[in-house]
Amino acid sequence: MTQPGDEAIQDLENRGGDLKQFTFGILQFPGSNSDQDCIDAVEVMGHKARYVWHKEESLGHLDAVLVPGGFSYGDYLRAGAIARFSPVMKAVSDFAAEGGLVLGICNGFQILCEAGLLPGALIRNRSLQFRSEFVHLSTRNTQTPFTSAIPESHLMRVPIAHGEGCYFADETTLEEIEANHQILWQYTTSEGNQEDHANPNGSVKHIAGVCNKHQNVAALMPHPERACQDIIGSKDGRWIFMSLIDHLNRVVSTE
């Protein structure tokens, strides 16, 4: 049976067989705990990944950066609030400023918001409880390096695991990100409808993930890296990685 991602891999291979191996950097903060899952996902996709320690001031050569989930520095002040001051985040900001692709996941989303690389903030789930479950995501904008491979109207089934994932932004910011098509993913029911009961944390506008204005930095609360193999419940996360790889390939082919 063909699975989501299979045909896309096939598609890429049909493009000439020169599937280049890209290198993903996975930031490692004290307390990161989905860092290994990111490596796993990148390797499952057939590419290379290496850790970048939070004390590093330089990223070295990387094709893309993943900011993984976890509880960086214990999240004691506020999720992501301390990580943004780490030496490596300066390097990530520079990388992003030069157009490099940065994807934050879960705690990585919180860090990127704290660092000002993404608009808005993540606050405690409305339930005041941690939530771990599979959710359905619709993709709002499929014209970005993080979403281009996702078929129109395809709902992704991916897990969440967070206590502070309620996306919040003021009215002006919300209008702005709407206007710029920066809302990438939204929580929906299994039928694709936006309903309160399908929203696991109370995020405004059911927002699960956003990108920056330049569309090279994005993040989401759900965990696509934990949804890249059937054996662990879903392969839908591959669509996001496939989009990134697709984009990197396009960049290579135009160089």
Partner: protein, 772 residues
Amino acid sequence: MPEQKITPELIRQHNLTEEEYSLILKQIGREPNITELGIFSVMWSEHCSYKNTRPLLKGFPTRTPEVLVAAGEENAGIIDIGDGLAVAFKIESHNHPSAVEPFQGAATGVGGIIRDIFTMGARPICAANSLRFGNLDSAEVRRLFRGVVAGIGHYGNCFGIPTVAGEVYFDESYEGNPLVNAFCLGVLRHEQIARGAAKGTGNPVFYVGPATGRDGLAGAAFASQDLTEESAEQQRGAVQVGDPFMEKLCMEACLELLATGVVAGIQDMGAAGLTCSTCETAARGGTGIEIELDKVPQRGPGMTPYEIMLSESQERMLIIVHKGKENEVKRIFDKWDLPWAEIGVVTDTGQMVVKHHGEVVADLPAAKLADEAPVYQRASKEPSYLSETRQFDLATIADTQDPIADLQALLSTPTIASKNWVFRQYDSTVRNGTVVQPGSDAAVLRVKSDSLPLLPESAPNRHQAVQDKYLAISVDGNGAYVYLDPYEGGKTAVAEAARNLACSGAVPLGTTDNLNFGNPHNPELFWQLKEAVRGLADACRHFEAPVTGGNVSLYNQNPKGAIDPTPTVAMVGLIEDPAQITTQWFKEQGDVILLLGALVDQADPYQGLGGSAYLKLRHDLKQGLPPRCDLVREKQLHDALRGWISQGIIRSAHDCSEGGLAVALAECCISNERARHTSELTGANIVLKTPAQVRTDALLFGETQGRIIVSIPPSHETKILGQAAILGLPAEKIGTVGGKNLSLKVDEGIFEWDLDTLHDGWFNCINRIMES
């Protein structure tokens, strides 16, 4: 500071008897000082010494060829899973701390068990738990329940370990004395097994992890007393405060250090903190140990030797390193920004010598402290209540008048209802290894290359991928059964765990158990313990699932009396081939539903209703004898099921437990949760032939043991039924999968349930109670 005089009052406050104090005098040939008295009191507490239970625990089977580290040798047992890989696992209680401070009590319970696992050199890959509370209609019980679940979630989620399995029961006997048993499993290669032994005279002793504070003073001693009305106020200081972030760093640093090969011995500071870790490592190493308390990082000024030695501050480890390799500790712990200190040295004196400001404040024989605690053969007597519960006559209660309402009600009792309110608060997907999520009979975990601890730089196989392995985990234990018949109840706890593993396609590897009982000085309560252990041991032997370790928690009683005796059993199994992983819910319309095992145990005068959830719910009775557990039949059933699973002809398998056949069937229809608010409901049409003399309530809700509901493609029906007949295994077709309802035809009529209604009552029950 003037030396405090040892008075009878002081001895009593330390929970030591006069005889025990005399033994101390004899062992050391002089009067102990206050620090030494404190050290003895924690080392000789039940929690550390098993002084009341050691003779009983000897009855457990502990060895099979696969056991690499057996029960009692180290912090956790280790079992071979083939291809050079092994698993370390254990369950441990944190009942008393959780009764007093539920959030931190439960959180540190998780922290403690995770440390026990990585101390063995294993990387922890999953957690599970077994919880008991009073009835949820009490606000205080809800507070405890909420706090415990949040505490477990907080620790595991932040640490980054998936919490994948568990069970929760609610019964008034646990009111005021909840049970919080935490399980952890880790994986490692055979050559990575670390030992908690202080080896090598002259080797330096390191303390790593956060500073020592006054929290958790003498927690082990606290755990070994009855809880009283005043406990909450008096003992709050005995509850530790957990920091999962610190533990995560500590684990990463320890595994990194272990990979360098410089570690001679490693031990966590759990119960009885620095005291236990120093004297146990010395005892295991056949050496002595000398430490200077001035070098121990301390949170506050002016801590006395007594406080430093007895503190149970969390996330601390004791590491003995080969002399000359001290820099490796410094390099790695500095990288992780973790405090470390060289606090002492391994000696050849056999003594545990503790200095403070250069003065000796304790000088005790390590092996005697660790291994020669007094051992008691406690008196036991069959409890008098049993003569009453066994008198119960089923004929005195009317048969069910309304099975439709009964099933709906059973599914909406918190003990049977979905525990999604609980497990949705636990990260169950981190580490990319969770194959079967919470909510089926057993959780299934994948072990892959990156599940393992790192190998040394020089190891030739450092980057060699390992073959994926699949483990199944189930935690079980029904206190009401054990209350009514400790021996049968003990057997059943093990049998159910083994059955759950079989349903998921797994062969048992080993068992870890947590014995939660009352005060051992009470002969009736001790009899419960003794009989239950005998049952557990017989069953573990029968299923070839040796006990590799566990925990004993006695003194579980509140002012109203003892809890139902509750052994909880966590069993770990191995699944050969991922294609064999099986879940409990019906999958395909048209599949044939078979019941494997007897419809009702007709030799049981209670027809499976003794101690049942139905009897409790509808008649408010905890009476009769629990269903009999026939180990021979049971194992035959499991073997047969695994055989069919390995042939690929079983689509779903679910064991019948609390609530009996009707509840199990309903669960097969409604328990497939695909995503948030997205459950796949699958109907079934069931036809049961009521055997002569069998009551309808017993047929539907009786808890006869040794029964499994499977669904299979219709083409395999004849084959399975034929093979079952050859094996002498009762098996019959009871229906087909399909439709929108659960329809059940018995001789008395046809009953139909709308699945949405059943699902709603079952799925949202706890949520409604907790969030209203």
